[in-house]
Symmetry: none
Subunit: 231 residues, 2 copies
DNA sequence: GGAGAGTGGTAACGTTGATATATGCCACCT
DNA sequence: AGGTGGCATATATCAACGTTACCACTCTCC
């Protein structure tokens, strides 16, 4: 049997599993129930996914990918802050739209990061890097990622743990705004994009620094001048 | 047998379970393993706790209570803001000190709130109420509780999901400060960028530059890192 | 002293994740 | 065309799990 068919049954199993998970909950996802829902025998799961964790990773990836595909993410290079907000909203929206899947992916911190998890992190990191390049970042990139991740995670899990009639949308907007003020500056540290603007801004602010020796600072100034000249 | 003895064996079982949980992880907590560790037969668990969830609730309550007992919480009626900070720190500290227990209590949002969970919420709510009485609250009490809860939950779970060598304590202090500015009218002491922001921007934009040699760029990156660290 | 209630121990049931063994099918080579 | 090897399927099975039924014992109270 060519791998085409196997890929097809893989998809069928994955979709049946997601259906089962969202409709009957986490505990209903047993290898037998999945096999039955997909019209296979229990051992087939193991041939296709290795073990149950493999199956769960696969459905996480599939669910995340289809969610992303349903959204159009077109970053505006001129407003990285708006992009960050949109990215945060996207992460939260995924959690609210796919609670069971989200809990599977993000609830247990001891669970090793799945492919879907790292894929989401990649999206975030690219936006953070653009923010940093534009001089907006108040903290270093790694800390920014952690803050964004933590606020989104806390927002979704807390939202889901509240009974439906006590869920206040202000929780989400407030947390997003807090995240923003924690991560970004009120004004960008550089006026122009790219290394040239950053170099010029640093050149201007350099006299205040104390971390470098006189000699180091002198050489640094030369380099910054070369950078601003672009050659 | 008088209930005195039963209470004693209950305690023994609870402590054995916590020991098992923290030493060998979540999956090691089976009714049989717990019974063996406590020197009982498996059915005894059910006589004492009803079912396995009853046992887990009991250990959550016990773990939370002993943690609280080890801390002295003496609210200062004159500084409710400091009290809130201390309360948030307390919640986070509990999570970092008892990861397995915390995950059990807070990871799965579909799990019904245990006694320990609501006990922690009670502590929080009393502080929020005092904050509100003093006129410090920027949002209504329920939203404040949700924000505090969400930031703490996100902080702990994100912290635990990071590998140990990438855990930055600034994540916790930053999130606490964000929570504070989101919930209260207290003005944050925000530091302005100076050369740090510009250095960070240049660091992020550096790969695009062509004016410097590889060696120069490498040394420059080291200096920029030193500048952003401020020492 | 005997009846009843409650405790404790043994064995067992149904289900789960996972695997080993047997059965059937299809492409491929001679 | 007819074997033949390899692979997907199907059945049976395993150990471990949460949980419960059942039985023997002991203690209490009349």
């Amino acid at each position: 049997m060519p791998p085409r068919d196997q890929e097809q049954t893989r998809r069928r199993v994955i979709e049946a599993t997601i259906e089962l998970l969202t409709r009957e909950g986490r505990d209903a996802v047993t290898t037998r129930a999945v096999a039955l829902a997909a019209g296979l025998q229990p051992p087939a799961i193991y041939r296709l996914f290795g073990d149950k964790d493999g199956l769960l990773d696969a459905i996480a990836e599939h669910g995340f990918a289809t969610f992303l595909a349903s959204k159009s993410l077109d970053p505006d290079p001129r407003d990285p802050i708006e992009d960050l907000k949109a990215g945060w909203d996207l992460a939260v929206e995924f959690g609210l739209a796919n609670p069971a899947l989200y809990v599977l992916m993000y609830a247990d911190p001891t669970r090793p990061a799945s492919a879907a998890f790292t894929a989401g992190m990649e999206i975030l990191m690219s936006r953070i890097r653009r923010l940093a390049a534009a001089g907006w970042l108040r903290v270093d990139e790694e800390l920014a990622a952690a803050i964004i991740h933590a606020t989104a995670r806390g927002a979704v899990l807390t939202w889901l743990s509240l009974p439906e009639d006590r869920r206040d949308p202000a929780l989400l907007t407030t947390l997003r705004e807090s995240m923003l003020t924690a991560v970004t500056n009120h004004e960008p540290a550089t006026q122009e994009a790219g290394p040239i603007g950053a170099a010029r801004a640093l050149r201007a602010a350099l006299p205040e620094q104390t971390a470098l020796s006189d000699g180091e600072q002198h050489l640094l100034e030369e380099w910054l001048d070369r950078l601003t000249l672009g050659r």
